[in-house]
Symmetry: C2
Subunit: 342 residues, 2 copies
């Protein structure tokens, strides 16, 4: 059933039917009711492609995920983020188009997004420190919001980010207050912006307290369980092993934990551990009391907020690039305790 048929069936023009369904005021209330009833009866839904052609709006948001060829890994955070975003889209009547781009920097993908005309705006995932996509998108003129930031780029674009720097600074500070002097950092890949900021926060806190940075206590890689296990195992073998760890993700933290187990070290007693926790649905940090002391950021909420920002920017293009910085909570779990006496 399309508009023409519906109109014919009602003995009305397409114009009137269209207006009735889209809530225009110049149609008589009785007529509107008649139209709406018929639409319901025949299960009429406007064809979005046709509507899009006519209005110029696609009613669809694109999410662009870079999948690096080298590290073929889907960010586990993605599922939860997108769930949150999806809530906002459903409410606003938008669809979600997902594009996985093999190489973060393939310009033509982004250009095509605009030309193909099937999205009104996009959300950019996984920004690098110097992410050329931002300038590209500004040039293209498609509204966008970055999930995260790109430190090396001028900041006049829309983004939603967690305060990674501060979160890791605070976490480090907490460990230092507990008496830890040798702290290992197991970070994500540091050309990713979020990882870079976390490292900065970590180093800043160390420096503020006059602590040396031991390069052997810094490790970065894809945030897998294996990374945590490997990194912690290596560091613990060294002459001056860390008495505490900072980890960039829950799975990595579990790997670290396993490495402790191998050596008979007890978490929170012999060795302390703070991890970042994205509060993912399938990876809850304990039940009543959190297993890990953690910097927690509700990724799902962030997805929703980012989506709302983008929708707002589309609704009112004059509002300029919106920016949101969210603070992570520092939640106390059972993985931290005073540094052991030497």
């Amino acid at each position: 059933m399309n508009l023409r048929e519906l109109a014919k069936h009602l003995n009305l023009s397409q114009t009137t039917v269209s207006r009735a369904l889209n809530g225009y005021p110049e149609v008589k209330e009785a007529t509107r009711l008649r139209v709406e009833a018929a639409a319901r009866q025949f299960n009429y839904t406007p064809n979005m492609r046709a509507r899009g052609l006519a209005t110029g709006r696609a009613m669809c948001i694109g999410h662009v995920m870079p999948i690096s060829k080298k590290h073929e890994m889907v960010n586990p955070v993605f599922g939860d983020f997108i769930t949150g975003a999806s809530e906002a889209y459903v409410e606003a009547g938008y669809d979600l188009l997902l594009t996985l781009v093999p190489d973060a920097e393939e310009a033509h993908h982004y250009r095509n997004m605009k030309a193909k005309g099937n999205v009104d705006g996009i959300i950019v995932h996984g920004p690098l420190m110097a992410d050329r996509r931002i300038a590209l998108l500004q040039e293209i003129g498609l509204p966008f919001v970055v999930h995260g930031r790109a430190s090396d780029m001028p900041a006049d674009y829309a983004w939603l980010d967690m305060n990674n720097r501060r979160a890791f600074d605070r976490a480090t500070e907490l460990l230092i207050e507990l008496g830890h002097r040798r702290i290992g950092l197991v970070n994500g890949l540091e050309h990713m912006d979020f990882a870079h900021r976390r490292r900065e926060g970590f180093l800043a806190a160390l420096m503020r307290h006059g602590l040396e940075v031991n390069p052997a206590h810094l490790r970065a890689g894809e945030m897998t369980e294996a990374l945590g296990y490997g990194a912690a195992s290596d560091m613990l073998k060294q002459p001056d092993p860390p008495t505490a760890f900072l980890s960039s993700s829950m799975v990595t933290a579990m790997g670290i934990w396993r490495a402790l187990g191998d050596r008979g070290l007890r978490l929170g007693r012999d060795v302390s551990l703070i991890t970042h926790d994205d509060d993912l649905g399938y990876l809850k940090n304990g039940h009543d009391v959190p297993t890990f002391t953690a910097t927690r950021a509700p990724v799902r909420d962030m997805g929703r907020r980012a989506a709302e920002m983008l929708l707002e920017m589309i609704r009112d293009p004059s509002c300029g690039p919106l920016q949101t910085l969210m603070e992570a909570e520092l939640i106390l779990g059972r993985s931290t305790g005073p540094a052991p006496r030497e």
Copy 2:
């Protein structure tokens, strides 16, 4: 730049330009080259909405994920599955539309998919045992492939599934051969089809070997780390604790492992564990030697295959519903060993 402008610039009709770009034979080679050069120069990409309107094909596949209100959790497998599917779409020039459906309003969402006309087919995720969506989609007449199956429905639809029953049967068999007599099953929610089949496989193997089923050794829930920890802790407290566990996911297995650690039980020595492993990018099962003995199914490949099936069905609607059953590998890791002497 749109087709008309491009045509004008070339002093050609839209017809010819369109044909040149779409590889129709009736256009002179010299002209085609000229057109292609101009298209590249101006970065012309056809507007998909307009093309879709004209051709009736959306060049887009919908993925529908139910998000149950009760268990607000995104299936962690989803990211990898969709990455695989995406590969196939990119090659075929398709886009991917993601819809998260809160399962209450099911029916009208699927009906709208068809009416809105922005997808040519859909992939259905998370099938339940008696999933009404299948009959609905058949009635609607939109090509679809189910990731998994629905045991209680007639099987004349397209699906791609892992042989869950056989995988868990084999895994159980292995444990029995190792001398285990009391085996705990920590499963996913059993109204989900895959979990139901795994349970069946588990029970079949027990029965075949004349082993009693202890209801206290069966547990099902959302496959979180906490589930594994809680279930294992409970079972180990009982008078006749399991000497081996079967787990439906890696994170759950890690929870079980943690519960063992709490009690000073060593994995693979004191207690054995086999888990299902979806081979996710960020949750690798060990490095050289797998940590866990596991039934492994490459979810990403499955995504690709499912997508290819759907594209084939769209290309040739007469080919009927395709079906693919994949076998999981049973890979040996360090989490299994002979049952301890009593």
